[in-house]
């Protein structure tokens, strides 16, 4: 039904003008704009790469382990077309993982047509061609050849994590780290004398969300590592303050909060103390977990006012939606599904308390595009503290980015946004993702210029601001 053969071996896969408008006037502007930002350093203020890679600098394993098994964008699509996760060698909760990596790669190659029209395809093509020099579209026919070429290169010094980091021209890379994390790998990187700037980000979800697996253990751990008595509200807050200071000392400039909703609360002290007692003791009343998370967002905003850490809120994903997949394979297996997310009423307690603070930067992310023009841009276009994060996750795509610019800019302007986040655990996709974002911004600005809504000189300033200046400012790099 679907042949994978699509082009000759000789042509490069990636057209130099990809993602630019087809219309000639706008395209010409986009080309010129892109020329000025294509070689700017990559600033990656939010993502999920593993600091251990850069601390240890060991070779990445085989192509399947590098590209497929850690990337839920890739294997969820295969799963949606009936390919069992077992056959892809996705690690199982019971420790099993038996698939032959070469066979996994073959399955992927055979089904590469499934990614047509998706960002995964753009990122993958970029990595194959620009990182590995493989200028042919992946297919069943060349699967083995590609496998061997990649596997071979991964064993060379040029493909070690630090070498790639440098080759990718990464100025700074922020990881995401649990509140009780020792940050040992960040410290090892620093101690090693290597110049690569890999910073931690403070993510307290596991000690804030009482529904989290192992929550009580995490709380206990929090008390231990902070030396505070977390059996009461005051001590718990002190422990978090202490950990934030520890992260800051280790280079962190931001916190990150992944919540099901954007709900915040601002309880009177006595009520917050009682709530925490129930949370700590596990003697919960209905709604306590949600209320505690809501209260904690406001507390965290308050601590950001104190310590200056930029606050990121990622709201709206129902985690582990597919019970069978969760049971067998665990978290982050492509089975998180967004749901409608309200921000305006939800954020009011937090914004009433801290929204006008000059020292707060609160970056909002969404999986619900309806909020761009209705809620997020109006909030960002008014509150000094509120900024709009780039399109996230399912929306981190050419069309998604374009809709974000089209929907948010007219109310929020460009200067209440914060540039791009790659938000990825797929290290190899980082340059590709930033390249797509730069191209889409160029395309959007080029259309504004071609429609005489912006001067070309302004567009040149803007594209640089969007690529580096606004990121540096929002994340205080």
């Amino acid at each position: 039904m679907y042949s994978a053969k699509v082009r000759g071996v000789k042509d490069p896969m990636l057209d130099a003008k990809r993602l630019f408008p087809a219309e000639a006037t706008a395209r010409a502007v986009a080309v010129k704009l892109y020329e000025t930002v294509r070689n700017l350093p990559i600033i990656s203020p939010h993502g999920h790469t593993d600091p251990r890679w850069f601390a240890e600098n060991k070779p990445f394993p085989n192509p399947a382990a590098l590209f497929i098994q850690p990337d839920h964008y890739i294997f969820r699509m295969l799963y949606s077309q009936g390919i069992p996760l077992e056959s892809l060698g996705i690690p199982q909760e019971d420790g099993k993982q038996s698939a032959d990596p070469r066979e996994v790669w073959r399955i992927f190659a055979r089904h590469y047509y499934l990614y047509r029209g998706t960002p995964t395809r753009l990122w993958m093509d970029f990595a194959l061609e620009n990182v590995f020099g493989l200028r042919e579209r992946l297919s069943a026919a060349n699967a083995d050849e590609f496998y061997e070429a990649i596997e071979k290169k991964l064993q060379t010094p040029e493909f070690l994590p630090r070498a790639l980091f440098e080759r990718f021209n990464i100025e700074v890379l922020a990881t995401t780290d649990g509140a009780v994390d020792s940050l040992e790998f960040h410290q090892a990187i620093k101690a090693s004398g290597w110049k690569g700037r890999v910073l931690p980000t403070f993510r307290p979800d596991a000690v804030v969300d009482a529904e989290f697996l192992g929550f009580q253990d995490k709380l206990k751990k929090l008390g231990e590592v902070s030396g505070e008595d977390v059996s009461n509200w005051k001590g718990y807050l002190a422990a978090l303050r202490s950990r934030r200071a520890y992260f800051k000392k280790n280079g962190a400039t931001a916190t990150d909060h992944g919540h099901l909703t954007a709900q915040t609360a601002d309880l009177p002290l006595a009520e917050a103390e009682r709530l925490y007692q129930r949370i700590f003791s596990g003697r919960l009343q209905p709604g306590d977990e949600e209320l505690f998370q809501a209260q904690m967002l406001t507390e965290m905003a308050g601590m950001s006012v104190e310590d200056g850490l930029t606050m990121q809120l990622h709201a709206g994903a129902i985690r582990n939606y597919n019970a069978a997949v969760y049971k067998k394979f665990g978290r982050d297996k492509g089975a998180d599904i967004p749901s409608p997310t309200e921000y305006v009423r939800a954020l009011r307690p937090l914004l009433t308390k801290y929204g006008n603070e000059p020292n707060l930067t609160l970056i909002l992310f969404t999986l619900d595009e309806t909020t761009y023009s209705r809620e997020l841009a109006p909030l960002a276009g008014h509150y000094p503290s509120v900024k709009l994060g780039p399109p996230w996750w399912f929306l981190d795509s050419p069309e998604g980015m374009m809709r974000f610019r089209e929907s948010a800019t007219e109310t929020a302007g460009f200067y209440n946004t914060v540039g791009f986040n790659d938000d990825t655990r797929a290290f190899l996709s980082i340059p590709a993702r930033h390249d797509v974002a730069r191209r889409v911004d160029c395309a959007f600005l080029a259309r504004l210029v071609a429609e005489h809504r912006l001067d070309e000189a302004e567009a040149f300033e803007l594209v640089k601001d969007l690529t580096v200046n606004l990121v540096r400012k929002a994340y205080k790099f």
Copy 2:
């Protein structure tokens, strides 16, 4: 205020490049793509044509009865501009229907400018020019001439239902039929020896929705035609299984479910039995009707796993919203209005039970575009059972189709969609509707090619897959 005169008599109304991008590069690609699919057979897996037409093969009546009175897209627009439905000869619940068809046609022609910018106008122009050879825009001036020309042709053998079916190059046409329907016309078609493939679709709404007018009678009828005892849960389910088998034997490959919401449930057996007892006896508790519909969606999914019938879910329309119109004219009079529809939480019980089944195909339709990128594409991009139906009803339009592709493709890919549905009771609009869908797909793919996001060779494969292969696969033709 609005003159209807718009073009000379000699030109064809329909430009060969209509609906393609204006931009020259993309347009050239679209033209080439369209050339490869324009003459492919029409596969119509979901619609509301009357099998009796093809069984009896009698001439269609006059132009008003053919084009206006059965088509709520057409008369709702006239009604919205103050034209009484009575004057259009819309059949009334008391049996009255008095308007002179020629006068009805004149009203329509006089107000044809109202449809500018709507898909109805595209479909109508296509039917007039391509089916009846009338190459001028309909207007007050040519209303009578057109009326007579159409009326005359309808009496000729070339315009009998079967002849049109063949001329339209329809490979298969699925109707929608109540669970207790005898399918006599489908059987008559088969018995006649005519080769046209007209298949039934199992639509059990009337025996599942206790708010349906005459629900108790329908239940009784279900018992009779199935020979099962529907006074208890087990017998009721057996009756439905029996009817599904009967439909399958008569050629059905799919079921269809029209619900106000996408809510599903998975009750323990004893609870389901008690719920059914209340439904059957009419001694309802608050919420029973909704809960029963929710439970039945899950039951139907289970039966689809057993018998392999593809399951379609059309959710989100508030039926018969305008009480006065409903009272006088009955159902399906252009007064159904969509409302916000949530899928992710609603479908969870069903998907938890059956979502990972390889043998289930669940096609989701929506009237709420906000769900494309937020809910539907993420579900289809993960679950093996979930596929996305094409833009439905108010969204079955060039802009609506384009937004669907732009919003859903990046997460769901093309291969978790199922091609086009015309979903129409207006037989004459079928070729026009499929033509619009093919053109819009060509336009979308052409833009991807012109922006170097897809190779041209891939686009040629894709456009054929979207036009015929994915439909055949999803509906098991």
Copy 3:
């Protein structure tokens, strides 16, 4: 970080083809279409200008007081970037307002880059170039020069309110006026013999919304000015009828209703009487205020059926969201934030009672774009009474207007829309806003022509209908 220097002094800032599609075919059509509407009179059926300006015809004060301090679009953006409202001379509730206007203007000029990509920038450039002849982009460098040039011109007869009204070619300008307003300035305008048509609009929010500050006083005032006994339901309704008649006598053709939601109700008489007693006495039960507002929308629709005043509903803004800003600076300070708004279920009581009335025109506005294709276009495409207002507030922008046409037209058609509203209190922005709307309509129609979805001759008719005919008809001018 951001230099303000963007172009040479000699070029005009405003390109003649701005906002038209970059693609040449469509652009050529847009140019021709625009040529036919650019000089048509401005019809402004809904806005917030002050009738006193035209009654007294005094010079506008300095540039800061003219452009910045009354325009929350402008100062909310500055506030969002950390500039205190005090430093902009925004009037405070305690009467303070101390900033030097020239310094305010300098702050604005220095931050003019913030408006890139926003409609404010388009409007401002237009006013500077077309009204004041300042052909350079505003910046820190030319701030003083511009300030002086504008200040000087404002003292000349050509820049008095009436002279500008005539120069702007305004055919009719509707203001928005409280139900108990004396309309003295409207009467003074008429009495002065000046020909400018400035009409009032009946806005009863302050005597309908019991949460409004000073509600009880307003009710009392309503009784006084109408001479009715507002201590009971019947008298209250009579008072409103009386005020509507008074407005109509003074030229009003419409009412306007600003509600948090679109909720309507249709209570039995006795229940409505009891509800009113609680509202009047201030002995409220939970939900009474919302229910009363809901009931009053239906009552107002009934009165519109009687007296023929066109009814406008603006729903969905959470007013005074930022408590600190509200406390210090009061209402309308850029801190109103939209929230999700449902129309279909909400409007059902009203539409069931009056939706089919030929004498009702109910114009719906929204801040929630998700309702265009899902709710508003289906309602307008069916009900004779329902029409769609143009994109409102945060959506009154090129992208916002384009999305409205793209999302609503295919279901509602063009003829269930009502042309453009500028909805502004910034008098100088009126020509700019209408110009943007005309250009975007030309751009949209031009694309339809270039894609062969509309004949050029039809587009010429349509653009005129959208610019003047549909407005005149909907507002009965």
